[in-house]
Each structure stands twice: as structure tokens, then as C-alpha cells.
């Protein structure tokens, strides 16, 4: 269990980007943006998935269009072990790609060092991430059902990726970050908001997903308020304790 939870924290220390060479891989993927895998999978996401949905056929279709041998399929799937619960390792890779690539696209071009006024709000980043789902919205339920299967993929990929998304949304927005327990509650709140909005989006039939965005805004507003409640509780407990110590002191002084 401890090992599992450590995975969440893996590679969380972010070194100064300007002092180091750029890593050749993108996030937790084993390939970079100039690789063949990236080309195939992003083509699949843009063109094939809207037609075929999330399955191997979508990847094969992209391979055909790009005039690549179908044996590339096994190259693409090679970083995932075969699993009884999931249909295909290549599909797992496509889903992983979908999560990682869209996360990077959401915050691309934002300089986190910029002044607060120039940074986007948390809400706008959340909506931006959801909008990236628009072309595949009708297929979202397929991804969600794959992600919900308990097992190593959930623990090693899906949950850490969700956590990284919340972490990025916070880091690249003008939202205040925290140095105590609120660090966790805020990320958890954002993750919950995101997942429930995605669920909503997969069923949303409104024009331009306006209902989804409304839902997300309202939900975000609500959970952030809850975060405030939490902090107020902590402060109140703190105050109570100070008075308790004072009381104990006066009792002791009286002997």
C-alpha cells in the first residue's frame, strides 16, 4: 500500500527547467513529441477515435492512413503489460496518451512565473481541459469505464495522472497553493470536480456542452467553498486549543 501511494509522489520535485536539458519523453509516456508513437496516437485521437471510438480499430485506422505497417501496433502497446481486465495494451496506451497529451496541451505556453494577474484562473483552466474533450465527448464513457476498472492501470496510471492534472491546473493558474493539509484537500476537490464533470460531459447533449461547463463551474465553486470550511475548522480547533492551554496554565498556577 505504501509503495502504491509512493507512486503518486514519484518525480514530483520539479527542477529549474532552464538549468537542465529537456527530457526526451513526455510526462509518464516513454516517448517524446517527435517520436513515431506520438504521431500515430495523436492522429488516432484527432481523426480515428471520433469515428471508431476508443479501441484498437482506431489505431489501426490511423496506421493505415499514415501508411505505416500494422506491426507498429505492438510497438505502441509495448509499455503496457497484457491484462485480463483490459481489452488491449495498445488501447491502454491510447488512453494514457489521451490523458497525458491533453494535460500538457491545457497548460502549454503558460509561464507559471508570471505575475498573478497574467495567469489564467483555475476555473478557466478546468474549462479549457474539458473543452479539449469536445471532439471525443460521445466516446468519453468508454474511457471512463476503462479507467474505473480496479487494478494496476488505475493505481499506476489513471489516478496519478488525475492527480497530476489537478496539480498542473493549480500550479499554472492564479489560485493560491498551500503548504499544509489544504494542499491535499484542494487537489482532491479539483480531481472530484474534474471526474464528475467528465461524467456529465459524456451524457451531455446540450449545444457546445454549455451544460457541462455550467455544471463544472458550479461544482468547482461548491468544493472550493468546502475547502474554506475545512480551513475555518482547523483555525477554530487551534483557537480552542490555545484557550485550553491558558486554562491549564491558570489551573496549575493556582496549584
Amino acid at each position: 500500500m505504501l509503495n502504491r501511494s509512493l507512486k503518486l509522489s514519484k518525480r514530483m520535485y520539479h527542477a529549474n527547467a532552464s538549468d537542465f536539458l529537456k527530457p526526451t519523453t513526455l510526462g509518464s509516456l516513454v516517448y517524446g513529441k517527435d517520436s513515431m508513437q506520438y504521431k500515430v496516437l495523436s492522429h488516432a485521437m484527432d481523426v480515428s477515435v471520433p469515428i471508431y471510438g476508443f479501441n484498437e480499430r482506431a489505431i489501426v485506422h490511423s496506421l493505415n492512413v499514415l501508411k505505416l505497417p500494422s506491426s507498429m501496433l505492438s510497438v505502441i502497446s509495448s509499455s503496457n503489460p497484457p491484462s485480463f481486465l483490459h481489452s488491449s495494451p495498445a488501447l491502454m496506451e491510447l488512453i494514457k496518451f489521451h490523458l497525458v497529451d491533453k494535460r500538457y496541451k491545457t497548460v502549454a505556453g503558460i509561464d507559471p512565473e508570471a505575475a498573478d494577474e497574467e495567469l489564467p484562473s483555475l476555473e478557466s483552466l478546468l474549462l479549457k481541459r474539458l473543452k479539449l474533450n469536445a471532439p471525443i465527448a460521445s466516446r468519453l464513457s468508454q474511457v471512463l469505464s476503462q479507467l474505473a476498472i480496479p487494478g494496476p492501470f488505475l493505481l499506476n496510471n489513471a489516478l496519478p495522472e488525475l492527480h497530476r492534472l489537478s496539480d498542473d491546473l493549480l500550479y499554472f493558474s492564479n489560485e493560491k497553493d498551500h503548504t499544509d493539509f489544504a494542499w491535499y484537500s484542494k487537489r482532491l476537490a479539483i480531481s472530484c470536480t474534474y471526474v464528475s464533470s467528465e461524467l456529465f460531459m459524456s451524457q451531455d447533449k446540450s449545444a457546445d456542452f454549455s451544460q457541462t461547463f455550467e455544471f463544472a463551474q458550479e461544482k468547482l465553486h461548491r468544493v472550493m467553498k468546502l475547502g474554506e470550511y475545512y480551513n475555518n475548522t482547523e483555525e477554530f480547533t487551534w483557537y480552542t486549543m490555545l484557550s485550553a492551554v491558558n486554562l491549564a496554565k491558570s489551573q496549575l498556577a493556582r496549584g
Partner: protein, 232 residues
């Protein structure tokens, strides 16, 4: 030892996708290349994980120190006015330490220890509790805490100076600037903690009753807390 485990290699030894993975990391523009020449290769996974831990445990430690002094000050400042400036000075330094690691934690995107509410509470109770016994007991508490923290910082300094020689793209080897600055910060804080230790002894920490029980007990608690905060 940290140097030898490079990120991906430790996971999969067989480099089968190398041709597919080939990238134009060194860009076409000449200016970018010369800029890249002067950059370090990325930290290994083990090195990043180590720095992650350092920031987390030191943040938790300084949070604890901050609240220990808060507890001592809260109990002692009115009753023993001569201790007030001494405590205030040490407390101010701890607040500075705490703030420094807070900003590192946010900037380096390290998660804080999950138990921050417990560290706050425990530290405050420890500071206030020993101070309620006697000013000497409070000083014994400081002595014990600073002994453990000083040793802990020394261990980190040893690792930071030994394990972070990184290769640059141009072939030279050096310690990345941010690791250097972290080392400097920790060195300064270590010196200040040892000053606190001396201050505590000057203010009769050794006369505390029961000295051994207090110092050894608190040392044990601190070590357990360090172990936990590094991990969770």
C-alpha cells in the same frame, strides 16, 4: 549511488524503442544549441526523489520548530520576561526557516507531509508542555530537538555534496545551481540550529528535572517524526 540509477534505464534495461524515441532534443537553431551545451542532463529519478524528500521533511521539521517555540513563548514570555528576547530571537529564525521551506515546497511542486495538522498540534503541545513544567525543561526540549535536527541536516549536507555531480551537455561535470543553493540554505540553517542548541545549554537545559527522561524521550519522538515526514 543516486547517480547510477538513471530514470528509464532502471525500469527497462532493454532499449528497444531507441530509434523511435530519437528526438531533435538538440534543436536546429545554433543559439539554442549553445544554450543547451551549458545545461545539465536531467536529475535521475533517485536524485529527484531524494530532493523531494529533503524539501518535505525539512518543511515539516521547521514547521514543528516554529510551533515548538510558539508553545514555549506562549507559556513563558509573560512569566519570565528575561527569556522573552532569547525565545523571540530563536522563534524569528525558525519562522524564517519555515517560510523558506514553504516557498521551496510550492515552487518545486513537492507535496507537503500529509500529517501537517498533527505536526502543528504535536509541536505546540511539546513546546507548551515542557514550558509548563519549567523554563529549564523547555530548554532541555530545545536541546534535544536541535541535537536531532542538527544531525539530520548534517546527513543531508553529506548526501547533497556527494551525490549531485551531474554531467552537462558539453561534457563537463558540476553540481546544478539549484542543488548548490539548497545546500547553502541547509548549511546556514544547520548553523543556526546549533546556535539554538548552545543557547539552550547556556540557559540551564542540563538542570531540567527529569533531564534524561525529557531529552531522550523528545529525541525519540523527533526521530520518529522525521522518519514519518520523509515518507508520508
Amino acid at each position: 549511488m543516486l547517480r547510477n540509477s538513471f530514470p528509464r534505464i532502471s525500469k527497462r534495461q532493454f532499449s528497444r524503442l531507441s530509434s523511435l524515441r530519437a528526438t531533435n532534443a538538440t534543436s536546429k537553431e545554433p543559439t539554442k544549441r549553445s544554450q543547451n551545451e551549458n545545461r545539465h542532463f536531467p536529475l535521475s529519478e533517485a536524485q529527484a526523489a531524494y530532493l523531494d524528500r529533503v524539501v518535505r521533511v525539512d518543511q515539516a521539521g521547521e514547521l514543528g520548530a516554529d510551533y515548538i517555540y510558539a508553545g514555549q513563548y506562549f507559556v513563558l514570555s509573560s512569566k519570565y520576561p528575561h527569556l522573552k528576547p532569547v525565545l523571540q530571537h530563536m522563534w524569528d529564525q525558525e519562522i524564517h526557516h519555515h517560510k523558506t521551506f514553504n516557498s521551496l515546497q510550492v515552487k518545486k511542486r513537492v507535496r507537503p507531509s500529509l500529517f501537517t495538522p498533527i505536526w502543528k498540534l504535536g509541536a505546540f503541545v511539546m513546546g507548551a508542555g515542557t514550558a509548563v513544567i519549567s523554563p529549564q525543561a523547555a530548554m532541555a526540549c530545545t536541546e534535544a530537538v536541535e541535537t536531532v535536527i542538527g544531525r539530520h541536516y548534517n546527513q543531508q549536507l553529506r548526501c547533497l555534496t556527494n551525490q549531485f555531480d551531474l554531467k552537462k551537455a558539453n561534457g563537463s561535470v558540476s553540481v546544478p545551481p539549484e542543488v548548490n543553493s539548497l545546500t547553502e540554505t541547509i548549511r546556514q540553517f544547520r548553523d543556526e540550529e546549533l546556535e539554538h542548541l548552545e543557547t539552550a545549554i547556556e540557559h540551564d537545559s542540563k538542570k531540567a528535572v527529569p533531564y534524561m527522561l525529557l531529552t531522550e524521550g523528545i529525541k525519540g519522538i523527533c526521530k520518529a517524526a522525521v522518519w514519518t515526514a520523509e515518507r508520508i
